[in-house]
């Protein structure tokens, strides 16, 4: 004796957020039922395991039917099959496109190809997130990437429009797309301590300041690539380290400003030239794709690690970078103020974000 068929269809599609999450997490129906039983729904509503199973199966089926629409969220709003209130639609989409930082951290900067997808079982094993969920997340990255890759205009806005995502999530996706497009190296051991949110923040900085769209919104260009002209201009900054006078002048200005304000003054003074050289060299090399990829690793090796070994606090770093940037403006012979500001603004916020004490 068995229930052969069991369906429930509401005029307004009923979706339980909790069950939706279980589905998104890639649970099987039976596992989901277990989780729900442990969650205590049964006692709360005087339900039996049978009822719970039926409900879970039914909802999983609904989600599966919706999945096609979720992959094209704009369709969800004007399809006729499911009547879902707008706030629910937003919730469905948001959660469908939500991802685990751990998972995205693993694939960040990698090419979103079949090869990477094949490696997802490793990711799954490493993160403890079901393969099914990893695949959904990966497919989402890839889908978003494909759609916005060739689009003109601001990246975040494009993502928001095509996938109806809330602002924060759209920014995260922009970061993922940006990383995937520029293939930034994030997997090195030295970078392991950085979270996805750290990278997302940096990506935001880069997108907002270093792409073509950042300068001029009206330009019919893409937001996913760095501004080539700007990268060329960065070479001019080299003067800060190649011109001995300028370097000394810069150093003394910074020292004057910082004296007495930081406990690591001596270390700073001793390291100034190294640090400055590091940062300017990063700038100068960014015309090479290879060096762009190593951008984050360079920041860590050339700046963050030296500071760390000298036990700088975040405040110290902040103070230093502020004065380091500002002092350059006072240098009479330094003509590249605009480029400098554009460069250092991003570098400063990236370093501060990446500087974990």
């Amino acid at each position: 004796m068995s229930v052969e068929l069991d369906v429930f269809v509401g005029n307004t599609t009923i979706m339980d957020k909790e069950v939706y999450q279980l589905w998104l997490n890639g649970y099987t129906v039976n596992d989901a039922v277990k989780v729900r039983i442990e969650g205590g729904v049964m006692e709360e509503c005087e339900a039996s395991a049978e009822v719970l199973l039926s409900d879970t199966m039914d909802q999983f089926r609904t989600f599966q039917m919706c999945e096609r629409l979720l992959q094209n969220p704009a369709k969800l709003a004007n399809q006729l099959l499911f009547q879902i209130p707008p706030d629910r639609q937003a919730m469905l989409i948001e959660r469908y496109y939500a991802f685990d930082d751990d998972v995205v951290r693993e694939v960040l900067g990698k090419k979103l190809s079949k090869g990477t997808k094949k490696d997802l079982d490793d990711v799954s094993a490493k993160t403890g997130i079901t393969l099914k969920s990893c695949r959904r997340q990966f497919d989402n990255f890839k889908r978003v990437f494909k759609v916005v890759e060739e689009l003109k205009g601001p990246l975040v806005e494009n993502i928001k429009q095509h996938f109806l995502l809330p602002d924060q999530l759209a920014r995260d996706y922009a970061a993922i797309v940006f990383f995937a497009n520029n293939r930034f190296e994030t997997g090195k051991k030295k970078l392991q301590y950085l979270t996805f949110q750290d990278f997302a923040f940096c990506a935001g900085q880069l997108i907002n300041n270093w792409t073509v769209g950042a300068v001029d919104n009206m330009v019919e260009d893409m937001d996913v690539d760095l501004d080539k002209e700007f990268l060329q201009d960065l070479k001019d900054l080299k003067i800060l380290i190649t011109d001995k006078d300028l370097l000394d002048q810069h150093k003394s200005l910074v020292c004057v400003a910082l004296r007495g304000k930081t406990k690591v003054f001596n270390e700073m003074e001793a390291n100034f030239k190294n640090l400055s050289r590091g940062l300017v060299n990063i700038a100068a090399k960014l015309t090479n794709t290879k060096d762009v990829r190593d951008f984050f690793i360079d920041l860590v090796e050339k700046f963050i690690e030296p500071c760390k070994s000298d036990k700088w606090t975040a405040t110290d770093v902040n103070l230093y970078l502020t004065h380091y940037t500002n002092s350059a403006h006072i240098l009479d012979t330094f003509k590249h103020q605009n480029v400098w500001t554009r460069y250092m603004g991003v570098i400063k916020s990236c370093i501060l974000r990446m500087y974990h004490e």
Binding site: M1, I14, Q64, M65, L80
Partner: protein, 1200 residues
Amino acid sequence: MPGKLKAKIVAGRHLPVMDRASDLTDAFVEVKFGNTTFKTDVYPKSLNPQWNSEWFKFEVDDEDLQDEPLQITVLDHDTYSANDAIGKVYIDIDPLLSSEAATVISGWFPIYDTIHGIRGEINVLVKVELFNDLNRFRQSSCGVKFFCTTSIPRCYRAVMVHGFVEELVVNEDPEYQWIDRIRTPRASNEARQRLISLMSGELQRKIGLKVLEMGGNAVVGYLQCFDLEGESGLVVRAIGTACTLDKLSNTYTPATAINPCNSSPSKDIKDSPQAVPSALGCRSTHSSPVHSASSRLSQGFSVSVPTLLFAGMKHRHRSSDGPRARQCRAGFGEEAPGVPLSSGPPTPLRAQTFSSFSPSKSYSRQSSSSDTELSLTPKTARICLSPSSPTLQSKSSPIPTTKALRSTTPPPLHVSQSDTAMLRKSVSFSEDLLLAASGMGSGGSAGKEAGPLKALLRQQTQTALEQREFPFFTLTSFPPGFLLHVGGVVSARSVKLLDRIHNPALGNTRSYKLLDWNSFTADEPETRDAWWEEIRQEIKSHAKALGCHAVVGYSESTSICEEVCILSASGTAAILSSRFMQDSALDTEHRLSRQQASVFTSGAEKGEGDMGSTASLGFEDLMSPGCAFCHIPYDELNMPFPAQLTYCHCCRRYKVPDVLFTTIDLPTEANVTGKGCLIQARLCRTKKKAQGEGNATAISNLLPFLEYELHTQLMNKLKLRSMNALFGLRIQISVGENMLLGLASATGVYLTALPSPGGIQIAGKTPSDITYEQHISNMQKKINDTIAKNKELYEINPPDLVEEVIGSPIPEPRQRSRLFRSHSESSDEVSELDLSHGKKDAFVLEIDDTDAVEDIHSLLTDAPTPPGFYSCNTEIMPGIYNWTSALQMFTSVRVFRLSNVNLTNQGLNKVFNDLCENLLKSLYFKLRSMVPCCLCHVNFTVAVPEDELIQVAVTAVAMSFDKDQTQENGRQSIDKNLMKAITENEDQLQFPLELSAESSSNPLNSAKGLSEVSGPLPSARDRCSSWIEQLRLKAHTIRCGSIKTMSSLEKASPLPEGRSRSLRSNRSYAGSSVTVVKMTPLSFIPGTKIIKYLGIINMFFIRETTSLREEGGVSGFLHSFIAEVFAMVRAHVAALGGNAVVSYNMKECVFMENPNKNQAQCLINVSGDAVIFVRESELEATPPQPHSASAQTSSSGEGT
């Protein structure tokens, strides 16, 4: 040629990829109406084509306009091979034919394919120009409005209720035509869909004609059904109640809504004297002109006699066709005794009714001249029928005649129903039936069986008139003052052997492919038409036996298995006020009542004590309607069945029965104590597999027992809940190869007017055994506990006064016998027996009886609804008034496979019972976020699709209500503000927060839940409210969250039309967003006002798959199909300009599977009324009534 239909194909979207190479589609559209087809250009390489076609114009007869759907086919152009069909849209243009309904159909329709389901959408514009042809009512019935709603539609006023209309058409089922073997499943399905669409159109047109003949302008409670008889054909039948409706002019609707053109017929009626008592029912002759009335009658009646339940289970072999059909009827009138008939209101009523029979003659003016009365012109009919005193005098005269027929008993009052000499025979005949049915005067009636009667009837063909008139009403709720007394449930069933309908296509001279079966049945005695005729006749006689002249809440259904078909009809015997049957001024009515009263005093020998007061009572009843409908309509000394009578607990003046069963909704004025609840009796009986007649016999033999046991179960469950009345009773019997299923659902309530029910007492037969006694006392204790619990749960605290009541001792019949004599009417015991006094006031169950053990078992296994939930199968739950606007309509289907074929009856019962219980539990769980809420209009349908399968389908609506009903004014105003805020909020969201899953829903009721926490509460409620409190908190946080996301969404997604997205605005999805369409099986939406009815929705879909596994198995397949059906209904409503479907009903859900072949097929038929509603808060005209749910629109209808 009075119509021009215009259609324009605008665009498509989300089309499927038809060309794998390019991943695109070259789509074009064919628009077909009748035999004319137009095509659009091919829009190449797009999934979102913009055809923007010219207006395609069809010049057609309005007859065709009514019958035919507009058929739109989307195809993929293929240069080298045949064009591939993507899918179709059928658009019923009927709503455009009534100028009061929609004026244009415009919107996105899902493109539907019977194999692939919905494949994209198409935007279509349809208009109709109807020429003002004065003769247009000749062949078509444009302008007659149809409503599925079984009450007077909310924005109309009933001027007159004309009565019963019915029609059926038959055809061969394309699925079973030889050609089906060579054509594709898709072609077959489409042929079927199209045929049924045509047949429905035709049916509706014909019913419309009948309505016009009767002088009405609308059909209310329109119920259309399909009988898929398999090999023997396809029957589409419909019943309804013809009315003359007037649009209520209110401030919010544009004045133009009242269309002079359309309302003209009704005005005629009102003004012309012809409108005087209109027929209660009219089966006008034209529907079956060729039938010889006498043959039909004899056929009908000879089998009706077996109505007597056990005694009367006779089979009669038809002499002409051999023993092909066996018949069995089981009917039971409920134990609903009545007030002495002498009471005022019934009397005038009767007078009206009788006279009203005749005007229907006038309505048959279009029919063939074979019937004698046809020669009467409307005018003459009117003259003889006008309720003047001479006529009435003559009415009283037949009484002696009929009296002669019954030797022992005084004539029941309805004898006087024979209003003209011409009808006498038929009356006496039904009188005879009545005698038989009530088990009285058995000697006399026995002798009068079929033979002599038949002879009489043959001589008197004109009695056919009486036969055609069925005083039936498909309405379930009535304008105040219309329903005077309720007798009880009347039902009839008949088992028939289907046999191939003679190929109607042969010898059909009409070019029209569809056939009106009636016109071909002259020499084919076994017609579907005649079958129903018989059943209705029987129902009518049952009603008479209950002293009632009308049947309300009437419905018909069938269950078919192989070649056996069970026809069922049921309704509630009632006495109606004449108010809506004529436009009489009040004074006429009263004059009549006085006259009639005098007639009665002289004619009847009962010497009722109350008699003297009759005249004044007419008013009295109107003034205290809260209990009036419970007063027995029949004569106390001459009760048609045994029942206990007491004086009404409200007015103490009239007699009421101890229990009342009805098929109608609870009258709004009824006084109810506490809350109600859904009560179900479920039964499963095994049956040997058999073929043909043997099978029919077996079923016939089982039926009465099944029905009897269902009734017993209902009664027991009612007592267990301490309730005394059932409303909305619906008994469904389904037949399968090896079992019979019975499911009775009703809403139990405690009617204040009726006596408090006694408890249930268990008795064992061997009291000597101590352990046994213990066992019994345990059970007794359990039952008593349950009763006590239920009383608390349903808040049933009748005033104690009730118990001591009344001077005269209440006759307490012996309980045991009562239990088993619930089929009273048909039982052949003599009534005096039941009047003997037994002092127990409890129902006795003897558990030695295996049946009783079962009963007790089922009593105790019925799980109570979880806290915060109520359920009922009527429109609204008695005792709940403050509904919020949160509602959720749903359909749930379950199929259960019995793996063990050799189940006993008990085993089967348990399985079936569990199936239903679990289904309910699942529903409660699913809808838990709406708590406190009530499942309303819970409609179960059972079927036995295959040997070992049981299918149960439920459609219902969950409505949240505001728990705290007794609030101080201050709080109320706060709540009102809150409500306003919420509705505003909702509007902002363009979507009511209706769903509420988990929490986001309904801050309103949760907030009130909070307010309630403060008060002292019984434990159960306490728990519930704390739960609500939790929900509220959750809701609060989540709500804020959701609104935030909403606003961000708003930013992202453009507002409908016009405003394009900042960037790629030309993308298809940048278009309009989807209109929200609410659906509900009820006739209203709480908190809103329906301002316009746009027309009836009646859709039939077939879906088939040959890749069942790939579609997610049977569940996945059916899930998406039901979702698709909803989507198509919503799309059609939205295209008509509506925002809701009321009185939604899924009438058919036939599911067949063949997992081995990876195939499944499903047919679904749904109906409802498309409407436009506005929120009451938006109207701002009047403060929202606290009882908005129960408040009837019709206060104005009472204007007289």
